[in-house]
């Protein structure tokens, strides 16, 4: 009772000043739909919080300086070795500050988790179509944050100035220097002159601890605000429509669950930091431009760029007295640049192709958008091949095949595997759709065999329950305005689809709208619950497809 009184008193005091009662009530009753994939973004958010907490601790002891000194400290194997102050202070954090090593390792594990969670979260958003109107802006903010996360990670693990990260920095500088026209200048300005100079560590430090985290804080704020304002998407299910949100309220349910989730994540990275050694810089030694160790591997999120550099053929031309190092700047900038650009444009491209300008709050199941899913898998495959090629030396070593063979295979695979992934994924999606459709139309097999008066045997089926039906139902697709299909004008396309661009649009629409052939079937009067038949250009009605094989029952 005393507690209740205290809460009421405090609440009253605050409300007198901030007028918060109504707003906070809405906040408390905000509905959070449940699905395990909705936790992925939270993992990223909470890793960020852990990074801020552990990172702040590390700044108390880290010295971002490239001043040369001779080490005489706890780690006797490096006694008397020349090193930068940055490296020496990292050794001090590891061996002379209680909890320092733990914080360093948690920080590093949390950083890896941060990037991984962002990647998987973005894949979830893409594959379920959660980026569609009205959430395009949040998708763009996400892409910017992903880019920043890669930079933040790269700068962060370069700070200790050890041999491994130094090699990574050298590669970064080489790529930067290769950029046509401005590359040399960018490199000189970033490094304060020639590589390696004495400025890069302090400069990366301030970018790593102030500028980029500040941008993150602003963007995360915007990301969450927009999500909050537009309300969550939900997976299809019974009672879930485009006009509601079904789930548990913020207070007390979501607050408690998400608080526990934060603690789980913290516990997980703390366990990793306790038992799984990461970035043991004392084993690598201080940076030195002459030395390198074989089998050097960057953090996982840089592996793809590393692989791109390795797989690229040696193409370089001197044109009009200037060097075009295609072998360096193309793999350095093109793969990620291409993925990010296409990802950023995709929501708008899809809207343009499908003509679908409606709001979408119910997520697609990936199978119900076969072309989108296939496209996403092609990108995943492209990324995956380059990522694997980033470890080609290790692959060659473990599989005992020639290093050059691995690279030559990767050169073919980087083109072929995405194409294969596209085709296979699309077929799999369409197959899964057919399976769903079969269930919807014919129900679940019960195993009960009945003999008809005519002597014929049939198996009884039972209609799927409502919950399943809501899940399986294919969302309605929007149709581009169709032209007349009969008469003299049959060959004349509608206004939006005329001309070169119009034809491209119509063609793309046909590809994008491809779904399992249900139109013809449903139109024959087999719609189970009398819903409007989903319509799409290129569906079975016009293609014929294999609707005939299932139209008899």
């Amino acid at each position: 009772m005393i507690v209740e009184k205290a809460v009421a008193g405090t609440g009253s005091w605050l409300d007198d000043r901030f007028h918060g009662a109504r707003g906070l009530r809405t906040f408390f009753r905000k509905i959070f739909p449940d699905h395990w994939t909705f936790l992925l973004g939270e993992i990223a958010l909470y890793s960020f919080v852990i990074l801020i907490l552990t990172g702040t601790f590390l700044t108390f002891f880290f010295k971002p300086s490239m001043t040369d000194l001779v080490y005489h400290g706890t780690y006797v194997k490096l006694d008397g070795v020349h090193m930068s102050e940055a490296y020496a202070s990292t050794l001090r954090i590891s061996f002379d500050v209680r909890g320092g090593l733990l914080m360093r390792q948690i920080h590093h594990w949390a950083a890896d988790l941060f990037v991984a969670a962002i990647m998987v979260h973005m894949l979830r958003i893409f594959f379920t179509g959660a980026y569609r109107k009205p959430r395009e802006v949040n998708w763009l903010i996400g892409i910017v944050m992903f880019t920043l996360a890669l930079l933040e990670g790269l700068f962060g693990y370069s700070l200790p100035d050890d041999l491994l990260s130094g090699a990574g920095l050298r590669i970064l500088q080489g790529v930067m220097q290769s950029i046509p026209v401005v590359g040399t200048y960018i490199s000189f300005f970033l490094f304060g002159g020639q590589y390696p100079g004495h400025s890069i560590i302090p400069r990366m430090y301030i970018l790593h601890v102030l500028l980029i985290p500040g941008l993150f804080a602003a963007l995360i704020g915007a990301h969450l605000f927009i999500m909050f304002h537009q309300k969550h998407t939900q997976m299809p299910g019974k009672g879930r429509t485009n006009r509601n949100v079904v789930g548990a309220p913020m207070y007390p349910y979501f607050m408690a669950k998400t608080g526990a989730f934060f603690l789980f994540i913290f516990a997980a990275v703390a366990l990793a930091g306790t038992f799984a050694q990461i970035n043991p810089i004392w084993l690598y030694g201080p940076y030195n431009p002459l030395a390198i160790s074989a089998g050097s591997q960057p953090d996982f999120y840089m592996g793809m760029l590393e692989g791109a550099l390795r797989v690229m053929p040696a193409w370089e031309w001197v044109i009009a007295g200037h060097t075009f190092a295609f072998n360096v700047f193309v793999p350095g900038l093109l793969p990620l640049g291409l993925i990010f650009t296409v990802a950023a444009l995709w929501p708008f491209l899809e809207q343009w192709i499908t003509g679908d300008k409606r709001e979408h709050h119910i997520n697609d199941r990936p199978r119900n958008a076969p072309t989108r899913t296939a496209l996403g898998m092609a990108v995943v495959a492209f990324y995956g091949v380059l990522w694997a090629e980033g470890a080609n030396d290790l692959i060659a070593d473990h599989l005992d095949i020639s290093l050059y063979t691995v690279t030559e295979i990767a050169r073919v695979a980087v083109i072929a595997v995405p194409i294969l992934a596209y085709i296979i994924t699309k077929r799999v999606c369409l197959g899964l759709q057919r399976k769903d459709l079969h269930l919807l139309e014919h129900g679940v097999e019960t195993g009960i065999i009945r003999q008809l008066p005519s002597g014929e045997f049939i198996e009884e089926t039972r209609p799927v329950d409502e919950e399943t039906r809501a899940k399986l139902a294919v969302p309605e697709r929007l149709e581009l305005p169709a032209g007349p299909t009969e008469g003299a004008d049959a060959e004349v396309p509608p206004p939006g689809l005329r001309g070169g661009i119009g034809r491209v649009k119509a063609r793309l629409n046909k590809v994008l709208a491809e779904t399992a052939p249900m139109n013809g079937h449903v139109a024959n009067g087999h719609t189970p619950d009398g819903e409007h038949p989903p319509a799409a250009i290129g569906s079975a009605e016009r293609d014929g497809g294999d609707s005939s094989e299932r139209s008899s029952d």
């Binding site: 220097q177 537009q230 509601n244 548990a248």
Partner: protein
């Protein structure tokens, strides 16, 4: 605040008009009878002017299954006790385990990490069990309004915007508008200009290294000069640095070289005094010892691996492979250019020295580099 009172099912404790006697027997914790003493009559809930009717309860007050909730309560409490002990353990571990030695650090890391993980894990587990087994299960539905404002609101906004634009006069007075834009441009450009001193200009700096005529080659690490006779037999690769620059990373990032001794006849020579693709400049070698830049021509990693049987120099970063007998020309990988050869000779005392600087820029490509000589 009347809202929150009405939210409770017990909100009917607000005295109904005409029954003040009931409210005098106030139990501790029930609402204060101040409202009852009010001179104004409070209309009954739900009528115009009165408080809103009690809201229908959305969240049940009791768990779905009181028996299992009771059991869960004990488990949750146990989790929280474990978290408390582990938290205390963390503080104890901080005090007990010293660092300053490698094994000490290991022990401290293990103790701190374990107690910390356990604290979070037990807390998280407790809360999850609490939510799942003690809190009643709910599923609420919230209506979603269209995001687009209605036409009236849009029209109002447009009016407000236009009014403001007109009142500011910015539309009517192009002089103001244009001079304002003119004033903004330099103010935005200036901060970029301010970044100019971030670094020096490249000019020709990437074209040269510190190597010059007579500068000795020292073995890296030992820092000793090298006589051709020191090589007992053809074989391995030695990293060399210019005398006087052993600790200068800025110089070494470009000037570091490797030297390899070959058996007679292994090197593919050209007689000229300038590099030819696939050939070693004979003039620049001493006694079948050849020196190449160690900085990979791809992105600048040290090309640090050497395979004696094939005479291949391999860069471990991206596996560019160079044939040491053929002027370090590229045989595989993403590098496009051979490792430049350092012109060598011996000085009066018989030590290996540079003849002059490299005749082309070393290391990765850059825009201004131009064709190789």
């Amino acid at each position: 605040m009347s809202d929150s009172t009405a939210g409770y099912p017990g909100g009917d404790e607000v005295p109904a008009n005409g029954e003040p006697a009931e409210t005098r027997r106030r139990v501790i914790g029930t609402p204060s009878p101040a409202e009852a003493r009010s001179m104004l009559q409070t209309p009954p809930p739900g009528t115009p002017g009165g408080p809103p009717p009690p809201r229908r309860r959305e969240l049940p007050a009791d768990p779905d299954d009181p028996v299992s909730a009771k059991r869960a309560e004990l488990i949750v409490a146990a989790c929280f006790i474990i978290a408390t002990l582990a938290g205390l353990g963390f503080i104890a571990a901080y005090v007990i385990f010293p660092v300053h030695t490698v094994t000490g650090t290991q022990r401290s890391n293990l103790a701190l990490g374990l107690t910390m993980s356990l604290t979070f894990l037990a807390l998280a587990a407790g809360v999850v069990i609490w939510v799942r087994n003690i809190m009643p299960t709910v599923e609420l539905t919230e209506a979603r309004k269209p995001l687009r404002s209605d036409d009236e609101a849009r029209a109002e906004f447009k009016e407000t915007f236009d009014e403001g634009a007109e009142a500011s006069q910015v539309v009517k007075r192009p002089l103001l508008r244009r001079t304002l834009i003119a004033a903004t441009v330099p103010a935005l450009v200036a901060p970029i200009i301010l970044l100019r001193d971030l670094g020096s200009l490249p000019r020709k700096k990437l074209d040269h290294t510190v190597w010059r005529n007579g500068l000795r080659l020292l073995t890296y690490g030992a820092n000793t000069p090298i006589r051709p006779a020191d090589f007992a037999s053809p074989g391995g690769m030695i990293t060399v640095v210019p005398d006087g620059f052993q600790e200068d990373f800025n110089a070494l990032a470009k000037a570091t070289c490797i030297i390899i001794k070959f058996a007679p006849g292994q090197l593919q020579f050209t007689g000229g005094s300038s590099p030819v693709p696939g050939k070693v400049v004979a003039n620049w070698t001493v006694d079948n010892i050849v020196a190449y830049s160690k900085i990979c021509t791809h992105v600048g990693c040290p090309a640090a691996l050497y395979e004696q049987t094939t005479h291949h120099i391999l860069c471990p970063c991206h596996q560019s492979t160079f044939d040491a007998t053929r002027g370090a020309e590229v045989t595989f990988g993403p590098a496009t250019r051979a490792l430049p050869q350092l012109p060598m000779t011996v000085d009066a005392e018989g030590y290996l020295v540079a003849r002059h600087d490299f005749t082309e820029p070393v290391g990765p490509s850059f825009w201004e580099r131009g064709p190789s000589t």
